[in-house]
């Protein structure tokens, strides 16, 4: 049985991980279906009488201070969180893996150069940087948010990939491939990439939770993706003023945020344990 099938089997046996993955899937379905099944998140049908209404049949999660449907906004907010979370994570690991591969395969000088660069980049304060950029860049599209978060978060992956490549270079089976006469590109493709894939996948999935929180933090401060586009962050911002009188306004996105991040983390842990059972707690 191939190592991938074995990992899949191990993952399936890990109940919390499976539940996390199920929640993620549910969320994704909800996010995709949002425009089809819910009301327009931007509509403000009756700013006076529908303001801050508690949950009812018409509005299952109530309405917010602008009489907008909270359920709809929460689901639309999920779209932002998922796009930014998954998108930035994927972009980040691609960048990181690329640099890591280059550093691991190259000679010592290039490797040192790249890694010192990474060391400097890690030292930069990510959150402050993002805050500064988005404070100035007022109309940043979601793509910019994705791009910048990715650009400030690929460093760990590059180290992981570089370490994996360096240790694999000396592995007997790689030496055997060289002895067979396989060309370098072939060895990378056939032997290195499959081995690097697992830690990269794990790294990416662990990142998603963090990125979602990061984006929520930014939009809570009014940066990045701005209102009226609903994001969980700015919904919480809307709801903080009416926390006591209309708690559902902040609770819905807040709970959604918590559930999503926990689900992603559980699934990511499960992936990590599935690929490398030795690290299982």
């Amino acid at each position: 049985m191939s190592p991938w099938r074995l990992a899949a089997r191990r993952f399936r046996r890990n109940r919390p991980a499976v539940r996390g993955a199920a929640v993620v899937l549910l969320l994704a379905l909800g996010a995709v279906a949002a425009p089809l099944v819910t009301a327009d998140p931007l509509a403000q049908p009756d700013p006076v009488r529908l303001q801050d209404r508690p949950p009812s049949l018409a509005h299952p999660l109530g309405t917010d201070p602008f009489s907008r449907d909270v359920l709809s906004r929460t689901l639309h907010g999920a779209r932002v969180s998922l796009v930014v979370g998954v998108g930035a994570a994927l972009l980040a690991v691609t960048l990181g893996a690329g640099v890591g591969l280059a550093a691991g395969l190259a000679g010592r000088r290039t490797d040192q150069l790249l890694m010192r660069g990474v060391d400097v980049a890690i030292a930069l304060p990510r959150i402050l940087l993002l805050l500064a950029v988005f404070a100035v860049w007022e109309d940043a599209p979601a793509a910019a948010v994705v791009g910048l978060i990715a650009a400030t978060g690929w460093f760990q992956t590059s180290r992981i990939v570089r370490a994996a490549v360096l240790s694999l270079r000396e592995a007997d089976f790689v030496v055997a491939a060289r002895a067979i006469g396989a060309p370098a590109a072939g060895i990378v493709r056939r032997h290195l990439l499959p081995h690097v894939a697992a830690p990269v996948i794990v790294s990416a999935s662990l990142d998603v939770g963090n990125i979602i929180l990061l984006e929520a933090g930014l939009s809570y401060l009014g940066l990045g993706v701005r209102p009226p586009t609903p994001t969980w962050g700015n919904m919480i911002m809307d709801g903080k003023d009416v926390l006591l009188s209309a708690p559902w306004v902040a609770l819905a996105p807040g709970l959604a945020l918590v559930a999503t991040v926990v689900a992603f983390n559980l699934a990511a842990d499960g992936l990590r344990d599935a690929f490398d059972p030795r690290t299982a707690a």
Binding site: S2, P3, D172, A177, R178, A179, I180, G181, G186, H191
Partner: protein, 328 residues
């Protein structure tokens, strides 16, 4: 050293040194003198045994011969051609003719590849066959090394150590080599499995006309499989010749100590054991003079041993030893 006719493999004064960083924060550099001037020949269809303990350089020697590691000086000629002078294309062609089998069956097969794919790699790289024909060759190779039908689709972790080693041998054979460097191929295997794999090596040699450089620290294994043997210590060959002669009457004090140290499955056979003084040496700082002199227990050890490095001298028919005091 000569097996008659032009040798298939001719190693002349091969030296391989590495530099390594050590010390606090890697500030210092040291040179590991792994292989320090080794010469020998191997003829076609012949097995040369190479015996030595850890740190003697035997693994580095095997890999240098195959140009998997860079040499520092000296020459390796395969079928007359200088292995280190070949360009990329010629080197790739040469790789078909000489292969390697490693010690650790766990590490030598890519765990993410099925056995069939691993064996196929050589066939694909050298374009020896494609598609169904390649599959057929893989099946034939796996059968030849004694693996059961259907092994090609399975993964290394599904096999035992002995079976993995067989798969590694099949992979080496896929490119139809003439010469195999066998680097401790049975050391990690149990007794009963070791016997099976040793028999396999013998059968393959008879059937395919292979030459072997058979490296091992196990003297009994070398005795069994190699009619000629070279003893390595600290990057140099200290004794070589026909196994029968060397095992019956070792001339170099190291070989003597080595032979008496091996536990023999024969209770009641009292033997005088030569116990060596001190630790095994480090190839970073080989002592001056004879490399073995600090641990040598020879009663007539003298100043010459400490200052002058002994050369290999022929002290019997085809039997060479590098010792000032041997043969006296």
């Amino acid at each position: 050293m000569n097996g008659g006719g032009r040798p298939l493999v001719k190693v002349t004064d091969l030296v391989t040194h590495f530099t390594r960083r050590t010390g606090f924060l890697g500030a210092r550099r040291e040179t590991v003198q792994a292989v320090n001037g080794v010469s020998f020949d191997i003829a076609a269809r012949e097995t040369l045994g190479l015996v030595g303990e850890s740190g003697c350089g035997k693994t580095t020697l095997g890999r240098t011969i195959l140009r998997l590691v860079d040499r520092t000086s000296g020459a390796v000629r395969f079928d007359g051609e200088d292995v280190f002078a070949l360009d990329a294309a010629a080197l790739r062609r040469m790789r078909r003719r000489m292969q390697i089998v490693f010690q650790d069956p766990d590490g030598s097969l890519d765990p993410r590849q099925s056995i069939g794919r691993a064996v196929r790699e050589g066939i694909e790289v050298h374009r020896l066959a494609r598609g169904a024909e390649a599959d057929r060759r893989v099946e034939a190779l796996l059968a030849e090394v004694g693996l059961p039908a259907g092994s090609a689709a399975r993964y290394p972790h599904e096999f035992s150590g002995g079976q993995r080693q067989r798969a590694a041998i099949a992979r080496a054979l896929a490119v139809e080599p003439e010469f195999l460097v066998c680097d401790e191929p049975v050391s990690a295997l149990d007794v009963s499995v070791q016997a099976q794999v040793l028999n396999l090596f013998a059968d393959l040699q008879a059937r395919r006309g292979l030459s072997y450089l058979f490296i091992s620290h196990d003297l009994a294994v070398i005795r069994h499989i190699a009619p000629r043997v070279a003893v390595m210590y600290l990057g140099r060959i200290v004794e070589h010749g026909p196994s029968d002669r060397i095992y019956a009457r070792p001339l170099h004090p190291y070989t003597q100590a080595l032979l008496t140290a091996v536990p023999v499955p024969d209770p009641g056979k009292g033997r005088r054991r030569i116990v060596l003084a001190g630790d095994p040496p480090s190839p970073v700082n080989p002592p001056p003079g004879c490399p073995f002199h600090p641990r040598c227990q020879h009663p007539a050890k003298d100043d010459r041993c400490r200052t002058a490095r002994p050369e290999l001298r022929e002290l019997g028919a085809g039997h060479f030893a590098a010792c000032h005091l041997a043969g006296r």
